[in-house]
């Protein structure tokens, strides 16, 4: 289990290869890559800046992974979240979950991703032609996270 908050980009192949080589019981690897889009709420976005709370952010992500491990069979999991300045088509976030079977891998991966969007301390500022704008929390994201509370 591993959590990294970093400015550098990541290579999903390298991460999956490292995970596979560590455990021959792994049969299913679900992953998610978040990408900066060129539009949001109708405005075109040229760059964005991501800020985090060093220490708390990593701890809260580790806690999310632990919660996923309590709900599903998780053989290994990795979260990499980038911070700093990013532009459209850049990768922002990577979640990889390895399990024996695909159902557990998909569910845990989506669960971690929903919580990353709604609970982990990250704040996004979009730079548009009209200037900088801190992104507001999305109601749809909160709803996605609430699905897991039942």
């Amino acid at each position: 289990m591993s959590v990294r908050v970093q400015q550098q980009d990541f290579d999903i192949s390298a991460e999956i290869t490292a995970m596979r080589s560590g455990n021959p019981k792994i049969g299913a690897i679900a992953s998610f890559v978040g990408v900066v889009r060129d539009v949001n709420d109708g405005d075109s976005v040229s760059t964005m800046t991501l800020e985090h709370y060093p220490g708390m952010t990593e701890k809260s992500i580790a806690a999310i992974i632990d919660e996923a491990r309590g709900r599903w069979e998780v053989l290994d999991a990795l979260v990499i979240h980038r911070v700093g300045t990013l532009k459209p088509t850049d990768q922002i976030v990577l979640v990889i979950v390895a399990s024996t079977h695909r159902g557990d891998a998909f569910a845990a991966c989506e669960f971690i991703m929903d919580y990353l969007k709604t609970q982990a301390p990250f704040w996004k500022k979009e730079i548009t032609p009209q200037g900088g704008r801190w992104v507001d929390a999305r109601v749809t994201d909160d709803k996605a996270a609430e699905r897991w509370k039942t």
Partner: protein, 84 residues
């Protein structure tokens, strides 16, 4: 002394990201600290107003308004998160 951190929009609006301060007399909870900070002037009054949708953490754990504060605590105020 406690450490107080401000993030994102809040950090920009207040013009500070981090400060050390002695817990003022009579301030024993997160709610009390927020009310104290709101008395610092215009930007502080606006950003720390009770109606503002602010979140807070004490020692890096999300905390409710009645969370008690003690010397040495790390307190953080921030807007709702918008990650990923």
């Amino acid at each position: 002394m406690i450490t107080v951190l401000y993030f994102a929009r809040l950090r920009e609006a207040l013009g500070t990201g981090q400060e050390q301060l002695v817990l003022p007399a009579g301030v024993s909870t997160l709610r009390g600290l927020r009310a104290h900070l709101a008395q610092r002037g215009e930007a502080w009054a606006r950003e720390m107003a009770e109606g503002r949708n602010l979140r807070a953490a004490v020692n890096q754990t999300v905390a409710a308004a009645d969370t008690p504060l003690a010397d040495g605590d790390e307190v953080a105020f921030f807007p709702p998160v918008t990650g990923g």
